[in-house]
Amino acid sequence: MAKQIEVAGLDAYYGTHKAIEGISMTIEPRSVTAFIGPSGCGKSTFLRTLNRMHEVIPGARVEGKVRLEDQDLYGADVDPVSVRRTIGMVFQRPNPFPTMSIFDNVAAGLRLNGRHSRSQLDGIVEESLKGANLWNEVKDRLNKPGAGLSGGQQQRLCIARAIAVRPQVLLMDEPCSALDPISTLAIEDLISQLKQDYTIVIVTHNMQQAARVSDKTAFFNLAAQGQPGKLVEMDETSKIFTNPAEKATEDYITGRFG
């Protein structure tokens, strides 16, 4: 189920502005990879290039290679829609569909992609909500609107929605930044469980979080404002946080950055 991602020499642009430059890395399956770095350094942009979400912004484009196992995601005949079906995404702000119930939100990805019988859907929705640790809280009100849940529950609903389509990789763009510490803990626990089955990439501003949940950490930085962001280094999380190879990483982690 989980697959490896390999990136080579990737640049991403917004119009003429180059947002990230020359990024190469390997993201291991069944592990959590964290991206850290200052605001504006291109972490989120890079994350969005991994499932071809970058190009939905008008004028945005990508150069370089991204491979999922042996498939080139930016190949000429690759359908971006099928890429996004394989590589799911959770956003910074919880964004359940406001017109849909909890059940319909989780079933949305399946329903919008083809026909499923009601019993099939029932099974997948229950499994996905259990997978997102939300089942016990919502099982009695599945037909209530998803927007009526608390922020943390909404975010777990979005995770359930993302895993319901059975992706091979799950990208998370600061999934806890809008949440309180208890909801954050719930999501972090969930990430640790999900990594049994998925390749997980998480962008976070919270370094303790990166240290807690990730197996590998990548540090991004930009030389100056207006310059493209670059990958400074990537290594085992324990090594990055105790004995980084680069001075910039150490400065950022110890708070001396600036």
Binding site: V56, R84, F91, P98, A147
Partner: protein, 294 residues
């Protein structure tokens, strides 16, 4: 020595200013409401007398110039058919135009051109759209006066209103929802149909109702396209029809009190029909809204 604290009572000058602005705001509100209420009151007072079963079920056929009685059945049928046909033409075109402008246009040359012409169309006087249909549809193509010709003229008036209101509503749908849908591997067109349009549904219905209310009361374009008749004509594609605005215009111009009474009742009927349509639209949006399931 007293210590100057930062917190002080509201000064009397600010209190006075507050009062003054409050009075002005209420005054403006009253000025806006008085004409509205007086129109409503006048129409109800003068129209309620003839609002009976005969008025709602009979036409003006064989009603002499001085006869009492008669009704607006032919005009009610005409208005409903014309507005329905106009909506059937204008709403799909307007909605699809709005979808293009918001989802596909991306500020390109074509979308800017469309935007410009929609703005121009918003300002077209209603009589001009009637003249256009008269000149093109009836004189050049040789089609007969009919309810459908009137519907064409009305749809020209409806279209820009539908485009503008639907465009506003589609732009209000947050980008994150579209992205959430894309990230699930949903193609763009399904995202628009299943996520964007349902989210904007309530607002779009309201906009369509405003457009319907606007054209239901148009007289000038109908005068030039559906002509006038005293008989019932259920077929909007053939022969002259009647419409409630035309009926009011026609009856109010006649020199007897019974005719003028019918004109008032016609106006009242028109208001009631528009209100009823609004009520139906509210019911639809309420029935569709997620709040109902809370």
């Amino acid at each position: 020595m007293t210590v100057q604290t930062g917190i002080q009572p509201i000064s009397s000058a600010r209190r006075a200013k507050d009062r003054l602005v409050q009075v002005l705001v209420y005054l403006a509100f009253a000025l806006a409401v008085i004409p509205l209420l007086s129109v409503l009151w006048l129409v109800v007072k003068n129209g309620i007398g003839r609002l009976d079963m005969e008025f709602l079920t009979h036409s003006m056929r064989n009603i002499g110039a001085r006869d009492a009685g008669g009704g607006a059945y032919h005009a009610i049928i005409g208005t409903l058919e014309q507005v329905l046909l106009a909506s059937l033409i204008a709403v799909p075109i307007g909605l699809l135009t709005a979808v293009y402008l918001v989802e596909y246009g991306e500020g390109g040359r074509l979308s800017r051109t469309i935007s410009f012409f929609v703005d121009v169309m918003t300002g077209v006087p209603s009589v001009v759209s009637g003249l256009f249909v008269l000149a093109f549809w009836i004189l050049v193509l040789g089609m007969p006066f009919s309810g459908f010709a009137g519907a064409l003229a009305l749809s020209i008036l409806m279209m820009p209103v539908v485009v503008r209101s639907a465009e506003e509503m589609l732009r209000l749908v947050p980008r994150e929802l579209r992205e959430a849908s894309y990230a699930l591997g949903v193609p763009k067109w399904r995202t628009i149909v299943k996520v964007v349009l349902p989210t904007a549904f309530t607002g779009i219905v309201t906009g369509v109702m405003l457009a319907v209310a606007r054209v239901a009361g148009e007289t000038a374009p109908l005068l030039l396209t559906v002509f006038v008749t005293d008989s019932i004509n259920n077929d909007p594609f053939n022969g002259p029809q009647m419409g409630l605005p035309l009926y009011v215009f026609d009856q109010a111009g006649r020199p007897t009190d019974t005719a003028v009474d019918r004109a008032w009742t016609g106006a009242l009927t028109l208001i009631l029909i528009v209100m009823l349509l609004n009520l139906v639209a509210r019911l639809i949006t309420w029935w569709r809204s997620p709040a109902r399931r809370r």
